[in-house]
């Protein structure tokens, strides 16, 4: 098993503090009007938090290559789902409900 080092309780604590801060920032950012950037910022923060959880809490950072490839493949598959479904609807000339 390839190991850079083992995660320590201190590291877990740092990560959870980052996650808490990220949650507060998400909430505060939602109260500021940034137009089109609001959902982008919200999702960017959510993705960052998810990456932290996957890498450190789920130990993917310390895992073998098979696990890492599997995780990346899974998210890639999800992107196919979202992208192709969306492009179908957008390509139809999406009308906002009258």
């Amino acid at each position: 098993m390839s190991q850079n080092s083992h995660p320590t309780p201190l590291l877990y604590f740092v990560i959870v503090m980052c996650l808490f801060v990220g949650t507060v920032v998400t909430y505060k950012a939602a109260t500021i009007d940034m137009g089109i950037w609001n959902p982008i910022v919200a999702l960017a923060i959510a993705c960052t938090k998810a990456v932290l959880v996957v890498l450190f809490f789920m130990h993917v950072r310390y895992s073998d290559k098979l696990t890492k490839v599997t995780v990346v493949a899974g998210f890639f598959w999800l992107m196919i789902l979202i992208t192709l479904s969306l492009s179908d609807y957008i390509g139809r000339g999406f009308q906002v409900a009258p």
Binding site: M1, Y12, I15, L19, T23, P39, L43, A50, V53, V71
Partner: protein, 239 residues
């Protein structure tokens, strides 16, 4: 043992990816309907109490921390700490579900449960009464909000938007409901793990079940990390 642990971890990840695709389907259709009915999404999101959602997010992230600590303690072979952290995770998970119950009850009181399946029929245009006064009037709130930040909208449009929030709430209950269902299963798994841990079954040599249980719990946490901004924070730019 290493090979077995590698195989178990791989298998668990493949399972989690099937779960990701299941939630992914809901997220994709949420996205498509959000683009089509944005006003209704905004109106519906504004009527959910963001404070409970915020607290729940912190609770669940905290439970991920205690879960990670439980895996660490299992690896160390420290029986007492394992059990302590597993029970801590369960308590936080139960707190999350309790707060969810409070939120669902609030939606029930405001007649925002879609259709007419459970008691009160869906009504977001001022026809819902609770404690003798009108509640859950999304049409009215939408009109006030639009007049405040944008420009006034006709009442007919506000009423139509309020009706369309039924779709939003269908997504709200489907996505948070499926998530809560996963939490309940997770609590069951944690209970089983706690029992095994209290019998001293885990050590540095063998702690795979705790690790895999941790993977499941963190996955459920990640789903919520995305649900919170997408459902609760669509437009919170009130004055």
């Amino acid at each position: 043992m290493e090979q077995q642990k590698g195989a178990s971890t791989f298998g668990m990840w493949v399972f989690l990816l099937t779960e990701l695709m299941m939630f992914g389907g809901l997220f994709a259709s949420y996205l498509i309907y959000r683009l089509k009915f944005y006003a209704a999404w905004e109106a519906g999101s504004s009527s959910i109490d963001v404070h409970w959602g915020f607290i729940n997010t912190l609770v669940l992230i905290g439970s991920s921390f205690t879960m990670a600590m439980a895996v660490w303690a299992a690896q160390k072979g420290d029986k007492n700490k394992q059990v302590m952290f597993l029970i801590g995770t369960m308590i936080l998970g139960a707190a999350f579900l309790g707060i969810k119950g409070i939120e669902y009850k609030a939606k029930y009181d405001e007649c925002h449960i879609p259709g007419h399946i459970i008691g009160k029929a869906f009504n977001a245009s001022g026809g819902c009464m609770a404690d003798g006064k009108v509640t859950g009037d999304i049409a009215k709130e939408f009109m006030e909000h639009q007049a405040e930040i944008h420009k006034p909208v006709p009442e007919a449009f506000a009423k139509q938007t309020a009706d369309q929030t039924q779709i939003f709430f269908s997504f709200y209950f489907a996505m948070t409901g499926l998530h809560a269902f996963h939490m309940v299963i997770g609590l069951g798994l944690l209970g089983w793990l706690t029992l095994r841990a209290s019998r001293g079954e885990f050590s540095g040599q063998y702690f795979t079940p705790v690790e895999l249980g941790g993977l499941y719990w963190h996955f459920v946490d990640i789903v919520w990390i995305f649900l919170f901004p997408l459902l609760y924070l669509i437009n919170r730019t009130h004055g």
